[in-house]
Every structure is written in structure tokens, then in C-alpha cells.
Symmetry: C2
């Protein structure tokens, strides 16, 4: 099977597409830039949804659902927002066999439709805060698409909150980017740099955008989550005011935050290898595959496999057996390596005799012989925990190796071919644009991560690597997906 | 609060809309016929999703996601399907600022986009069956909309399965309508009649449509779920063949089945009363509200309320306290009756003294005094179970009272003002159309429910109530939503 996967060293981009296709995670449909998320890929999204949703609810949020369609007049109400989004919208002009009197935009994001509702729901400080999240599909007419990373239609969640004070809204924005970080690092085993976007890179309509940025194996950055302080921009655009405790009218403060099926792309690019997908155990809907190995003793071996499966399942371990007769054990080994199942458990007649089984780790390829007694589930859980930790550490180590402080523009140009360049910048849009035009690198963020900042001496003053003008602190440059 | 709800006797339709609005379940948006599902309504949908999804997975199905957009050429491939759906589609003609070379239809249902993918995935009998479900939004340009029951955009799940034989596909169709029945009766406490649709009433493109039909409190029918045998229609339209075990090429057999946010409308209309929503405990994300009652002893009472809440939560009972000071206990009683919370638990200083609490049932309005010892969670669970059973029995009794066998057309005309009319029909489209035109009643189904059929003498031969021609068995006529 592994022959079907182009090696990373040969062509990283082909390697990625091969894994998505061969592990049956997604397919392009015949509609331009739209993907079909196949069951193996969707199972990852369901795990992500359930782990994220629990975190949203634990922080006081509730789910709701707003319409897919946005009237043209709504999307035009917030000036920056329309500039950012209108050119990439899909537009419905006909419905029920007739031309519509007003065009409807398919939501590229839902601030406008949601704030037109909040206007009706909010009149007093007693109606605040509103802490709503929505799981939905959105459409952005992308020119260049790549499965999971950038598709015309994608699935996401978008939180939209309304607050009485700037302080409370600011707290929400930071709280949610921290929730994303916690999810991505603990469940996806993907280390990220948490930071703030520059003026040029922030969300259309936002006052401030916070982000988490991950480094892929090829050293490029991938933005995996954002949280926006929207100030009173949308409240003003939709005339959404409330009476405060002293009876005065004020505009409502807004935030929005989202992650999308792009996370699946990050997951694949972060951990996988030339044999196929590598899934962190916490996001694997199937954690252990049992492969029976026999010549004539099929019934005996299968009986033992079933017994072990029951024991593992009873302990909450997501286990399945592949007892198909049309494929060899060798074929099965390759197939489940390709699919990224964290642990393979092999069981043959000699194993039964010796009251043992062979357990192979997907991440390291190492094998252990474990006793098939009552300690097995605990030992397997231990290996799953170890895989989760190993994947995170491996990715973090790789990121440290590929991140460097650079003191001049030439070094920046070299370093962004390898990974993250931490450099001084004079804070102007002009310098940022010049660097982007000349190198294709963007400022991923102004990092706010204490460990990262210490390691890469972010918080010292210096001089811009391009203009030599004063710079209050360093920022992270990288090429990005 | 209850003054805001129009009584059922006065105007059933207004009563329904009042409940949806006052319990904050949904709102119309400013986009024609599109609704906003508010957090209270969406919480019901989340419960439904989780209980249905578990049933789908237990029957071997997996989830996937297919594109929102369907190329015009696809939707035109199955002749009956296009006749049924094209007139009610929303059409995207522009994307990314340009006119599209081919119009894209927003999916009204996904058979065409899914079968164009299955064609690529299926080549051998080894690739079958495919048992896929999708949770998605769909759009049908409805002329007359009603919140939850009929909206331009709605949320649903659609199962699409592919099989090697007609027998296997038929088994799937019956299995899934039975899964729906089990869900609707056990979780929604809503009795249904399971049956088969007539030729005129079946899904556009289906060979056979099975349905479950519920009776609302006003005696009208509401179709709450359907399961379709699609034969080889879509396989032929998309040229989807497979090589069977003997090496011959055959067309694949298809099924599809779905339920939607319309279920929430059914739930509201089935159980609610003039005070507001009544939620079956199994679909209530909040099952018990604790209302503290005090004059000066706030701290003591709240401490006890918290203690009871912890005890109930630890036993899996979804409990919350309303300790807000701005509203009176009386206001809270009305508010949570309106919201349909199954149980209200009142706690005051005298209750603490007597080691007891007052527990009020939403369904019957009866109150009990229960000891606040370790038996409380068990007793409360018992009351929740009793509410669930009572709601089902009440609805079933009402349906039996409003269902009658009729032997002539005049009696049919009278009976369909009250409820279901079980009558002989000659099996022709012409008679069916005549009855529909003259009475607005449709044939809801040819019932397949043994108990129902015995009760209403369905399986005897007779003469059509309109033409007097022979009829092999009775069918169910009713006005419907």
C-alpha cells in the first residue's frame, strides 16, 4: 500500500494529497473546489466536534442555527466586512423558478445575519451576554483549493457573542483562543504559537484578531484557529444598542471565533509519514485494530480475538477486528498503517499458547509482546497515552529545530525556506507588504506565548530587519498554507 | 406568562406559533421562509441528533458530508426527481464575482450528488453495501412556510445506501423506518402509524416510500419520517454498476431515508398545552429546575438547593437552579412551564426543616412532597419515567379517540374534520385526486401496523367509499401539515 504514497522528500504537496485520497479521507466532487468528506475523514471531524463542543458548553456557550442565506443589503452594512468577503461569495439569484427581488449571498461567515437577529433580541443589559455558537457549512469562492485546507465549501463552528462592556468582550476573545489552543495541543497533539495578527492580516471587520499558528512538517505555517474582538463595529452597522444599568443607551460589544475542517488538514500534515496517516489516539474513532494470524486454526484464533476485543471495549478502548479472509495479514498491516490506526494487535496460535499478543505502535513502528491477562487494557491505554505524548513532543521538537531568530533580511529570506523566522519589524504596513511581495512570507503573529517568547527573545527592542527603524519586539514570519 | 399563549381552542395555529416564539424555540429571519433556530429549540435538535445518530451507528451506518451545490446537469439526470424538485430549488448563478458557466442548485436532497460519487467508489460487489448518513441543511423554496414544519431551509439527516441486491435494499428500507418509529415513540413519546405511501404521495424518484405518520392534537396528520426504496433508478441515471460474484455487471440498488427539524414541530404540537411547551424528559436538555423560595433565608436555601442539584446531577439528572433575584418564584414557575421543563423542584426554609421538597410535574401539574434523602434521585427518575410514559399514552389515547372507520364518503368528509378516517379506496389515482380536491384530505398511508390494523379492521376487503369498486384493504385518510 505504501507505494501509493509519494514520499514527503520527493513532493510534500503530492504526499499530502496521496494520503487524503488513499486513506479515503476526502475526494473532490465535480463541483469546483467542493469536497466530499468521506467516512474516514468525517469520523475525525465528529471527534473534533464532540471535544470542542464540550469545551464550548463548559465555558457557558449554547448552540443555535442561523440561515444559510444573507440578503445582499445585510452583507453590505459593515464596510470592511463587505470589502473582505463580497468578492468571494456565491450568489443565489433565482428561487422557486423565479428571479429574486434581492440577491441572496451564501454565508461566507455569519456576523451580519446574526447581528440582525441580536438587534431584535437585545434591549437591556439584562439580555446580555449572549454566548452562542453555530456548527454550519460556509462558502468562499476560492481560486486555488486544496482538500481540507482551502475548499469552496467547508464545515466549521462560529461563536458569536454579545457583551455589555469592552472588558468582558476582550476577556471572551482571549478565553476562546485559549480554548482552541487547549483543544489543538491536548487532543490533536499539535503545538501552536498563540498570538495577535497585524492590521493587514486580521479579520475583515475586526478590531483585533488572535490566532493560533501551527508549523507543518515542511516548515510552513497553518493558521488553525482565530478569535476576533469586533468592538462595536457590527452593533453600529446593525444599530444594536442596549440600555445599561444607569438607563443610558450603548452599542453592544461583539466577538466571533471559529475553527473549521481545515483542522483535519493540519492533523494530517502535522503527524503523518510516508506510510500514510498517523492519528493521535484522542482523535481516532478506531484506536486498535486486531489482526488474527492463522493457517488452519481460524476458529480458535478468532475466539481469542473476540475475547480480547470485548475486554478492551469494556475498558473504553475503541477496538475492531479485521477477520476478512480475502486479504492477507500483510495487506491488513499496510492498510491500517495507511489509515493511521494508532495500535495494531496481532494474535496467532503461538500467542494464544503463550498467553500473549504482539502490539505494534503506528507512531514509532515499535512492537511489544504483552500478556493477555487482565492488565492488558491498562497497558494498551498506557501505550495510547504514550503515542499521544510522543506525537506532541515530536512536533514541538521539529518546530523548535525549524524556528530561528534572524537579525537581517538575507537571513530572513533563507530561514523562511526552512520554517519560522523570528525577526524585528518596524510595525508598518509598507514593510510588511514589501516582505510579503519579495519573499511570500507573512507575519503569522505577534506571539503572546511566554515560553516561545523567552526561547526566541521576542520581547526585546531592536531594529527592523528591512528598514532599520525601531521595533518594540520581534514577530513570527513564515510562508503559510 | 401564559397570557401570551393563545388557547388551543381559540386558534390552534396561533397557539403553535405563540409557543414557538414565547418559549424562544425559533424566529423567522428576514430571509423569506428561513428560520433562526434559537438555543432552546436547537437544544432539542441536539438531543434528537445524538439519539438518532447512536441508532444509525448501531445499525452499521457511518457519517459523511457531500457538497451543498448540485450541478444543474446532475439534478436533471433522474426524470421523476427533476420534476419533483427542480421547481422548488434555489439557484446559484454567480460565484467569486462572475457568472457561472453552469448553474448550481442548492441541494433540496442529495441523491444526485451522492450517486455521482458512488459511481466512482463502486466497481465490485466487494465495495457493497455502502451505508452512509449525512447531517446537513437543505433548501426547498416553499410558498407557505410555518416554523419547523415547513421552512425554506431546514436541517435534516439523509441516509443513502447502496446494495448488491433488491432484497438487501428492501430490508434496509424497512429497518430504517422501524428505527425512526422506535426513536419517535420511545424518545419523543409520539405514537405513529407506520405505513406505505400511495403512488401519488411517494418521493420523486422512489419505487416505494414508507412513512411514519403522527396525529397532532387538532386531529391533523404530520409525516415525521420517510424511507425510500429507490430501486435502480439513480444507479441507472448515474451509470453506477458493479461486478457481481459471477463476474456480471449489474446496476446498484439504492435506498434513502430522512427526518428533519420538522420533528421539533411534531414534538411541540403533540404534547404542549395552553401554558406552553411540554417536553418529554428524554428530549429535555434541562429536566429539572430548582426554584429557591425564601424571604430572608437566601443563603441557607441556596446552600440546600446546591446540595440537591449536586446530588441529582451526580445521578445523571439534568438539573439547574434559577437563583436570580430580579424575578419572583411565581414568575419562574410560569416561565419554566412555558419552556416545558419536565419537573420543578421547590425548596424553602420550611422544606429544609422538614427534610423535604415540593416536586411539580409539568405534564399533569400535580405536586408531591418528597424526602430530600438519598432516595431523591431515584424518586425523581421515577417521575421522569412516568412523565415520558404518560405523554405517550395520552397521545395514543387521543389518536384512538380521533380515528374512525368510515363506510361512506359523507362520513369520511365529517371524520377528516376530527382526525384519521380509515376507509376503503379503489386504488386509483383518480379517486385519490377527487377526494383530495373535494376534501383536502390525502391518503396518509396504507398502514402496516399490526395493532392499528386489527383495531381498525384494515385488512378486510370491501368497496371504495367513493366509487364502490373493490378495495383489497382500508387506508388512512387525513388532512395533513
Amino acid at each position: 500500500m505504501s507505494k501509493k504514497i509519494t514520499p514527503r522528500q520527493k513532493d510534500y504537496s503530492e504526499w499530502y494529497i496521496d494520503i487524503v485520497r488513499e486513506a479515503r479521507l476526502a475526494d473532490y466532487s465535480d463541483v469546483r473546489g467542493c469536497m466530499i468528506i468521506r467516512p474516514n475523514g468525517y469520523a475525525i471531524w465528529e471527534k473534533m466536534q464532540s471535544l470542542l463542543d464540550a469545551r464550548f458548553k463548559a465555558t457557558g456557550h449554547v448552540n443555535a442555527y442561523f440561515p444559510l442565506f444573507i440578503p445582499e443589503s445585510y452583507i453590505k452594512k459593515e464596510a470592511q466586512h463587505i470589502d473582505g468577503f463580497a468578492p468571494e461569495c456565491a450568489v443565489v439569484t433565482h428561487g422557486g423558478g423565479e428571479a429574486l427581488s434581492e440577491n441572496l449571498y451564501i454565508r461566507p461567515t455569519s456576523e451580519t445575519i446574526i447581528w440582525s437577529a441580536y438587534k431584535k433580541w437585545i434591549s437591556s443589559y439584562r439580555d446580555l451576554p449572549i454566548l452562542i455558537n453555530q456548527w454550519a457549512n460556509v462558502v468562499r469562492w476560492e481560486m486555488r483549493t486544496r482538500l481540507f485546507l482551502r475548499t469552496t465549501e467547508f464545515l466549521w463552528q462560529e461563536g458569536h457573542t454579545a457583551h455589555a462592556t469592552k472588558e468582558e468582550a476582550d476577556e471572551e476573545v482571549i478565553k476562546m483562543i485559549a480554548v482552541y489552543r487547549d483543544f489543538v495541543e491536548k487532543e490533536m497533539a499539535a503545538p501552536v504559537v498563540l498570538g495577535r495578527k497585524t492590521e493587514s492580516e486580521k479579520f475583515a471587520g475586526a478590531v483585533e484578531t488572535y490566532c493560533i499558528e501551527a508549523m507543518m512538517q515542511d516548515g510552513k505555517a497553518l493558521q488553525v484557529g482565530t478569535s476576533h474582538a469586533l468592538g462595536q463595529n457590527f452593533a453600529k452597522a446593525f444599530e444594536c444598542t442596549f440600555q445599561n444599568q444607569h438607563g443610558a443607551l450603548e452599542y453592544v460589544w461583539a466577538t466571533s471565533w471559529g475553527v473549521s475542517t481545515r483542522l483535519i488538514g493540519a492533523l494530517i500534515m502535522m503527524h503523518s509519514d510516508d506510510k500514510g496517516l498517523v492519528l493521535p489516539p484522542k482523535l481516532a474513532s478506531r484506536q486498535i485494530v486486531i489482526v488474527p494470524i492463522y493457517k488452519t486454526e481460524r476458529a480458535t484464533v478468532l475466539e481469542k480475538c473476540n475475547e480480547i476485543q470485548s475486554m478492551l471495549k469494556a475498558n473504553g478502548l475503541a477496538t475492531f477486528i479485521d477477520d476478512s479472509e480475502q486479504n492477507t495479514p500483510g495487506w491488513k498491516f499496510s492498510e491500517y498503517e495507511l489509515q493511521g490506526i494508532p495500535i495494531r494487535l496481532e494474535m496467532g496460535p503461538r500467542d494464544i499458547e503463550n498467553k500473549q499478543c504482539v502490539v505494534a505502535r503506528r507512531d514509532t513502528g515499535t512492537k511489544s509482546i504483552l500478556p493477555t491477562d487482565a492488565t492488558l487494557p491498562m497497558r494498551i491505554q498506557g501505550i495510547l497515552d504514550s503515542i499521544q505524548a510522543t506525537l506532541f513532543k515530536r512536533a514541538l521538537d521539529a518546530r523548535y529545530q525549524k524556528t530561528r531568530v534572524v537579525e537581517n533580511y538575507e537571513d530572513l529570506k533563507t530561514q523562511i525556506q526552512m520554517g519560522f523566522a523570528v525577526a524585528h519589524w518596524d510595525g508598518t504596513k509598507e514593510t510588511e507588504a514589501k516582505i510579503k511581495n519579495e519573499t511570500k512570507a507573512t507575519i503569522r503573529c505577534i506571539p503572546l506565548d511566554e515560553t516561545f517568547n523567552k526561547q526566541f527573545d521576542v520581547l526585546t527592542q531592536g531594529k527592523c530587519v528591512v528598514t532599520g527603524n525601531p521595533s518594540p519586539h520581534r514577530v513570527v514570519f513564515a510562508k503559510a498554507y
